[in-house]
């Protein structure tokens, strides 16, 4: 046992609860709680919020290579505050997916050693040599670089639409009893760059998505995991949808029009049904879904590009690129945690 397992428990509270870490520091005393009445302000809110317990900068990109194949890239920087006003510890994850392979990587650090952190002007989020960096204080133009001994990437992300706020004004409720986070995204990136694969470099282009979320509240004890979708449709619309699996599933969807206008949908407005499972690392994971949002005429089947997109980190989870077919064809990313 070592510090890492614990760190993971802190960073992935849902997963942690599912892993039997229930009761581990559930109190939020001393941490700031999300305030629905506070407006998000940029660029300040691109930076870290150390008064909150946990926070992340989450980049995913569904890409196409010069060789015509589908690829996917994930990069996440997690921040966790061990105690109110206490040490900030950081964790970064990397994922590179091809139709027949998946490479994952993980780094840990402590900001007081200078190894990790986020600066606002110019914007940079980093841990070691893995970083998401801008030349100014905005997040409209970003460079993303990370690599492990096996694989990595150098990508340019250019936003072609506005930042969108989820829930009510960026206040995203996560359970019936009111647990919530602050949550915004930049879902309009056009991505170009190079993937470094064990077989050699590949030039790629595609669409990317940045999620920013922070909170101090753990999810409900009965919430065993989540299924999270981010989709870019061919007609220019975007969809962010998640289901928190508990005794009573908690569903939410943000419908993002091509101009960035965002409409929140709660509860039964969204339906997400597993259509097929794959055995991944000895577990049954639903890698094929039917997603419906009737109020928008959405009815699509979402399928993994590579069913084995397993993030082999200390606490493992599934995360990989997907394709959508049906009423709204498109591409995107799927993250699933808590499958045992």
């Amino acid at each position: 046992m070592n510090a890492r397992i614990l760190l993971l428990a802190l960073f992935l509270p849902v997963a942690a609860l599912a892993q039997g870490f229930a009761g581990l520091g559930q109190e939020t005393e001393g941490f700031t709680l999300p305030d629905p009445d506070r407006d998000l302000t940029f660029p300040v809110d691109h930076g870290a919020h150390p008064d909150f317990r946990t926070e992340w900068w989450y980049v995913t990109a569904a890409l196409t290579g010069a060789d015509g194949r589908d690829y996917g890239v994930q990069w996440t920087l997690f921040r966790s505050s061990l105690a109110p006003g206490g040490p900030q510890v950081w964790m970064a994850h990397l994922g590179v997916t091809t139709p027949d392979a998946h490479v994952s990587g993980e780094r840990l650090g402590h900001d007081e050693t200078g190894q990790a952190g986020v600066s606002v002007a110019p914007f940079e989020a980093w841990l070691d040599d893995w970083h998401l960096v801008s030349d100014d204080d905005g997040i409209g133009d970003l460079r993303l670089e990370a690599r492990t001994a096996e694989a990595g990437y150098e990508l340019t992300l250019r936003a072609e639409g506005p930042i969108v706020l989820h829930g009510e004004n960026g206040y995203s409720v996560k359970s019936a009893s009111g647990q919530a986070s602050r949550y915004y995204s930049q879902p309009f990136y056009t991505v170009t760059g190079t993937l470094h694969l064990p077989s050699g470099p590949v030039e790629v282009t595609g669409q990317g998505w940045l999620d920013r979320e922070w909170s101090s509240q753990f999810l409900e004890a009965d919430q065993a995991g989540w299924d999270w979708f981010s989709l870019h449709f061919e007609d220019g619309a975007r969809l962010m949808a998640f289901v928190l699996r508990g005794d009573e599933p908690f569903r939410y969807a943000s419908w993002i029009a091509p101009d960035g206008t965002t409409t929140p949908y709660y509860g039964n407005a969204l339906s997400a049904e597993p259509m097929g499972v794959a055995e991944v690392e000895g577990r049954d994971v639903p890698v094929r879904w039917r997603l419906r949002l009737p109020q928008r005429g959405l009815d699509v089947t979402v399928a993994a590009v590579n069913a084995q997109s397993w993030q082999d980190t200390l606490f493992p989870y599934w995360e990989g690129p997907v394709r959508a077919e049906g009423s709204h064809p498109g591409r995107g990313y799927l993250e699933m945690t808590g499958y045992e």
């Binding site: 070592n2 614990l6 200078g114």
Partner: protein
């Protein structure tokens, strides 16, 4: 029939529970001491590998230089997989503080368990540190959690907390973890001042720790041999006593082969029982001693060993194997005789038959041959193994010579004796000698080991403390971070101290092997105190003119270059050896020039280290003033008193294990004596009964027995002393030189030897107490029965 025969054979043990106890305990002790030592060795070796993998002090390449955490961040952000280490001893504290970064440190070993959020938070906040049980941690440090896996004397803290404790902004080094990519930007571009240091081949450390383990193994073998004496005596006796039974069984139709098989099965059963007990015993002993061993290894050689013990199959299997071998050796001879025994052979105990002159003669010749061999190996042998062969031959030879010598002394006594009773006493002692000789040999070995090791430790302690006083003549040692600070420091110290003596040094190649070259000024501190083993006339005056060099004993011994010879100091620099100084505790070669000669030979080495002469009473105030005024690196300021205390602590710990093994060996020997006397006590009733019948009281007989035991023990002790001194000489002059590269003078300790002899007599008295008491209280009827039972 098997069952009936086995029942009859085992009935013997029911009737002689003490003998059974002797056998099992003897075997358990022998196996226990052996496995205990093996367990310690196996654990230490396992830990070297683990420690190398975790903290990588020895096995990982590292980056050194004038480093801070910002440099660590620079390298990490350039993709270098490095982890920072800060390692220092705070002023006035004996424990070493090791600062690590839990996020980047290798996760497969000595990193403390931080699975609890509160612990991790406290660790990162500097409110929690980790140390082994028994490591003295001053109250100025935060809460200490005791962990068995940490080497004693080490306090593990977060790197930031360690910086705060040590009062520094620096880090000592960064370890380069194995996952380094090969397309990293060059170090020289990132940190121009830093250098990459490849791990040392570990030859020296490996050799030193090997010698330590060989030392322990030798002790284990010695203990095993002593234990075997007990087992041999008990088994032999059991066979002898069961001769009538064997005869009866054979006469009843039990085939010889079946009988032999049954007895062999009995031996196997004893192996399993005694072996298992021994392994439990050995485990307990190892667990008890391991923290000391760990302290020794980390203190003396810098090798990291955790204090915890894991159950490895190698050593417990070896325990069973040794028990089996031991029993086979002890019982094989008896089995062999039994297999060839004629059916109706006389079933008389052979107590008399054993006292054959031939045996004594053979023992005498064997002993002399072994002693001669020991002398030859000591003179002509090289290498550590030769040293141990010499030790073995010496001890075994002395042990073999013991019965003939005792026999001769007793014969002389008998001839001189006046009066029937005295004559009988001498003669009876001689008659008992064969039965006791094995136990006495064990006693001799144990005593000799005690004398030898005690003398070695005493000599070492006296020499070492004297040497520390000489070498650490200056009151305060200070090290600046760079030349600028050094200049400032000198200006600050000017007028506050009696003398500022710069010390400069660099790594170099001495006679082709890695070593250190130092420069020191010509000063009375060195002239008056420096411990020279060998020198040319006017050595200091000649050195002061810039001529020649002083070299340490290790280098002189390795190369054979003593005063007057020439030595190669690397880079084409050859100089005359003006003197050789002793340099305990350092495995590497070393040479010293004057300051000017050093700067001429090695340009661009800044003077950043200084030895300060100051009145001892002013040391604390000055140390405080320096650390308040200057931002010195960890270990930048060391006062002589702490350094001496630390060195002596290491020394004491080094020999704590040896002392414990010494006591155990003596205990085993005492037990062997007790076992032999007890069994003899019953066996020799036929010899005692007639004397009693002639009118001697039981009290008189008992006291005569006691006197006999004491006389034999005293003679043995007298013979053990020269053996032990010879052993000490071999340890100091042969084994030490081979293992450590230095030779120590042998300092006699007659007081200690006298005390030890007294202990031997006390042990004999205790061992004889029970048989004597039995004889004293023996019902006359039992004595009379002897005549009735006479065969």
């Amino acid at each position: 029939m098997n069952r009936a025969a086995l029942g009859a054979l085992l009935a013997h043990w029911r009737r002689h529970p003490l003998q059974l106890l002797t056998l099992v305990v003897g075997l358990a002790l022998a196996t226990g001491l052996w496995t205990g030592v093996q367990a310690i060795n196996a654990q230490a070796r396992l830990d070297y590998a683990e420690a190398a993998a975790t903290l990588g002090q020895d096995d990982l390449p590292r980056i050194e230089g004038d480093l801070t955490l910002a440099d660590f961040a620079t390298l990490r952000r350039a993709g270098w997989p490095v982890t920072p280490v800060l390692d220092g001893t705070p002023l006035g504290m004996r424990a070493r503080v090791l600062g690590i970064d839990p996020f980047t440190a290798p996760q497969n070993g000595a990193t403390p368990d931080l699975t609890d959020t509160a612990d991790l938070t406290a660790f990162l906040d500097g409110r929690l540190v980790f140390a082994a049980e028994g490591t003295a941690v001053p109250e100025t440090l935060p809460e200490v959690r005791r962990l068995p896996d940490i080497a004693p004397g080490l306090v593990v803290a977060d790197i930031l907390a360690a910086q705060a404790i040590l009062g520094t902004e620096q880090i000592d080094r960064m370890l380069i973890l194995p996952e380094a990519r090969d397309d990293l930007p060059p170090l020289a571009d990132l940190l121009p001042g830093a250098r990459r240091v490849e791990p040392e081949a570990g030859g020296e450390i490996g050799r030193l720790t090997d010698s330590f383990h060989l030392n322990l193994t030798a002790f284990g073998l010695l203990a095993f041999a002593v234990g075997l004496f007990i087992v041999h005596a008990a088994i032999g006796l059991a066979f002898e006593q069961r001769r009538p039974l064997f005869r009866t069984l054979r006469a009843l139709g039990l085939p010889a082969s079946r009988l032999t098989l049954l007895l062999a099965a009995e031996l196997v059963a004893f192996t399993l029982i005694g072996g298992a007990l021994g392994i439990v015993l050995g485990y307990g002993m190892a667990a008890l001693l391991l923290p000391n061993v760990a302290a020794t290894l980390s203190g003396l050689y810098g090798a990291s060993v955790a204090g915890g013990l894991t159950l490895a199959p190698t050593w417990w299997l070896s325990g069973f194997a040794m028990a089996g071998i031991g029993l086979a050796v002890a019982g094989g001879q008896s089995l062999w005789q039994l297999a060839r025994l004629p059916v109706l052979a006389p079933a008389m105990p052979r107590a008399w038959a054993r006292a054959r002159l031939g045996t004594l003669y053979r023992q005498g010749v064997g002993g002399l041959v072994l002693l001669a061999a020991a002398v030859l190996v000591a003179v002509f042998g090289t290498g550590l193994v030769a040293g141990f062969v010499c030790l073995g031959a010496l001890l075994l030879g002395a042990a073999l010579l013991l019965p003939p010598i005792l026999s001769a002394v007793l014969a002389l006594g008998a001839r001189r004796a006046k009066g029937a009773l005295t004559q009988w006493l001498w003669a009876d002692t001689q008659q008992q000698l064969p039965g006791l000789s094995l136990a006495l040999m064990a006693l001799l070995l144990a005593l000799a080991a005690n004398v030898g090791v005690g003398t070695m430790v005493g000599s070492f302690r006296a020499t070492f403390t004297g040497w520390l006083d000489q070498r650490l003549a200056a009151e305060l040692y200070v090290r600046a971070t760079d030349e600028a600070q050094a200049t400032e420091l000198r200006a600050f110290l000017d007028g506050r101290v009696d003398a500022i003596l710069p010390i400069v040094g660099t790594e170099t190649s001495l006679e082709g092997a890695p070593g250190d070259l130092y420069g020191q000024p010509d000063h009375s501190t060195f002239r008056e105190n420096w411990p020279l083993l060998d020198s040319v006339p006017e050595v200091w005056d000649r050195l002061a003119t810039g001529e020649g060099a002083l070299i340490n004993e290790q280098l002189a011994r390795r190369t054979g270059n003593w005063s007057g010879a020439e030595v190669d100091l690397g880079a084409g620099e050859r100089r005359e050896v003006l003197g050789v100084y002793s340099d305990y505790g350092n495995p590497r070669g070393q040479a010293i020039l004057t300051l000017d000669a050093f700067h001429a030979a090695v340009p661009d080495v800044p003077e950043t280290r200084f030895a300060l002469r100051v009145a001892p009473a002013e040391v604390p105030a000055l140390a405080e003033a320096i650390s308040a005024r200057f931002d010195l690196p960890a270990e930048g300021l060391v006062d002589q008193a702490s350094l001496k205390g630390f060195s002596l602590d290491i020394f004491e710990q080094t020999f704590a294990v040896t002392a414990a093994l010494n006591v155990l060996t003596l205990l085993v020997a005492g037990f062997a004596l007790w076992a032999s006397l007890t069994t003899l006590g019953t066996m020799r009733l036929p010899q005692v009964a007639p004397v009693w019948a002639l009118g001697l009281t039981r009290r008189g007989l008992a006291l005569a027995d006691l006197a006999r035991a004491l006389i034999l023990a005293a003679f043995t002790a007298v013979l053990a002393i020269p053996t032990g001194v010879a052993l000490a000489w071999v340890l100091l002059a042969v084994v030490n030189v081979q293992a450590f590269g230095w030779r120590l003078p042998l300092l006699a300790d007659p007081g200690g030897w006298a005390v030890l002899s007294l202990w031997a007599v006390v042990a004999a008295a205790l061992a004889a107490a029970l048989p004597v008491w039995r004889l004293w209280r023996m019902p006359p009827a039992q004595l009379v029965q002897v005549f009735a039972h006479e065969r």
